[in-house]
């Protein structure tokens, strides 16, 4: 039995991701919880998140999810989604600055307002809708997903991993709005995406399906 835990720290709609996972594989054992023992016992973890970083980090620390994730990354595959991905970096500019979990060196930055695309159009923030993800390196999680497929995004902040540092995440997917940002990063046992696979129809469901069989290796 594939025991999947969606980590619930009280921020946002976790039922979408749960329903999508059960849709791609009805035989998984799915639990949505913050319980430490269940997180330790899981075969794989989903680390989602929406909302403001300060509130997210406060709950993550209160529930000791940061410590659980630091241990879990040595043992089993973890999929970070949206603010879950951002929380994996060291620091976020949101809410006048918040220290994050720090699985990877790097910053979470805000899109600048009134940026203009190549046609002269002003780009709205949040970045909301379907944008292309360029697969910048091969990865088992991209299996069955065409390069430059469109995924659903909704965010005002993006991750900027410090790739000069030794323990940095690898950038495996990039998108542009209009600046190029990391829309997917990876390391051993970790794959993290800025978009919402649970809301990205077939390509998103394929990514979740890939995660359910990923062994955590690059």
């Amino acid at each position: 039995m594939n025991r999947v835990v969606v980590i619930d720290y009280g921020m946002g709609n976790l039922h979408s991701v749960g329903k999508a996972l059960e849709h791609v594989d009805e035989n998984i054992s799915l639990t949505i919880t913050a319980d430490a023992q269940q997180i330790r016992d899981a075969d794989r973890l989903i680390f989602p998140g929406v909302g403001a970083m300060r509130d997210c980090m406060a709950e993550i620390k209160r529930l000791k999810i940061d410590e659980l994730l630091k241990q879990a990354r040595l043992e089993k595959p973890i999929l970070g989604i949206c603010v879950g991905m951002q929380a994996m970096l060291s620091y976020s500019e949101e809410n006048n600055g918040v220290d994050c979990i720090g699985l990877f060196p790097g910053m979470v930055k805000r899109f600048k307002e009134n940026q203009v695309d190549e046609s002269g159009e002003i780009l709205k923030v949040p970045h909301m809708g379907w944008n292309e993800v360029k697969q910048t390196s091969a990865h088992p999680m991209w299996q069955g997903i065409e390069n430059n497929s469109r995924f659903y995004f909704v965010h005002s902040f993006f991750v900027d991993p410090d790739t000069d540092k030794q323990d940095s995440a690898n950038i495996v997917g990039e998108s542009s709005y209009p600046l190029t940002f990391s829309s997917a990063i990876s390391a051993e046992n970790i794959f993290a995406v800025q978009f919402h696979p649970e809301k990205s129809q077939n390509v998103g469901l394929q990514l979740l399906k890939n995660f359910l069989s990923w062994n955590g290796q690059l």
Binding site: G12, N13, A20, G129, E198, Q201
Partner: protein, 256 residues
Amino acid sequence: MSLAKRIIPCLDCENGRVVKGVKFLDIRDAGDPVEVSKRYCDQGADEITFLDITASSDNRDTTIHTVEAIASQVFIPLTVGGGIRSLDDIRIMLRAGADKVAINTSAVLTPEFVKEAAEKFGSQCIVVAIDAKQVSLAGEPLRWEIFTHGGRKATGIDAIEWAKRMVAYGAGEILLTSMDRDGTKNGFDLALNRAISEAVSVPVIASGGVGNLQDLVDGITEGKVDAVLAASIFHFGEFSIPEAKEYMASKGIVVR
């Protein structure tokens, strides 16, 4: 490489059925909301908007069950509106599987509600729906005011000022309906959409008046909106979502 413009079919639902009125009258039955949503999703719709127009609150449970059923089969974003009056209403809808809620009348009655909702659940799931009607007379500079209660009640509030205020309060998106155009098939109110879209930093969805595929194109190119919402042209089989996307792409609009 750029963000695609979104096409959003809208399901106005009453007592668990999709309906569509012309200027909020003459309601025609357009099917089961779960089947209709699934069909649009399979056709490549970018999001689904579900508006509960049931007048009484007796059928709240029907709405919640319908949202749950849609969310378990449709893996694109789902916005739910109609009768969202409290933080509890939002929590219930998000728990049922909605990704965003649309707040309309309650925002006008209690603007602080939008602020609380955005702080609690995040701006990304708070859509403020605005029903606007032109109030300027011929020859006067264009001016629109907002209306509540399904377009029946005037408020005297300027639509552009209102949109800015709602964004300042944390709205993550504006769903803008022209009461003059809704149900007419005469096209979006382009001046209204452009005025609001240029006044706010968040995405704007144009709604009300789509009669053909060129109307969708005009909404984006002239109305400057980020997404277009339509109901009847899709519900009654006049056009399919792929036809709409193909036409928009042929006019140089980036679609998924």
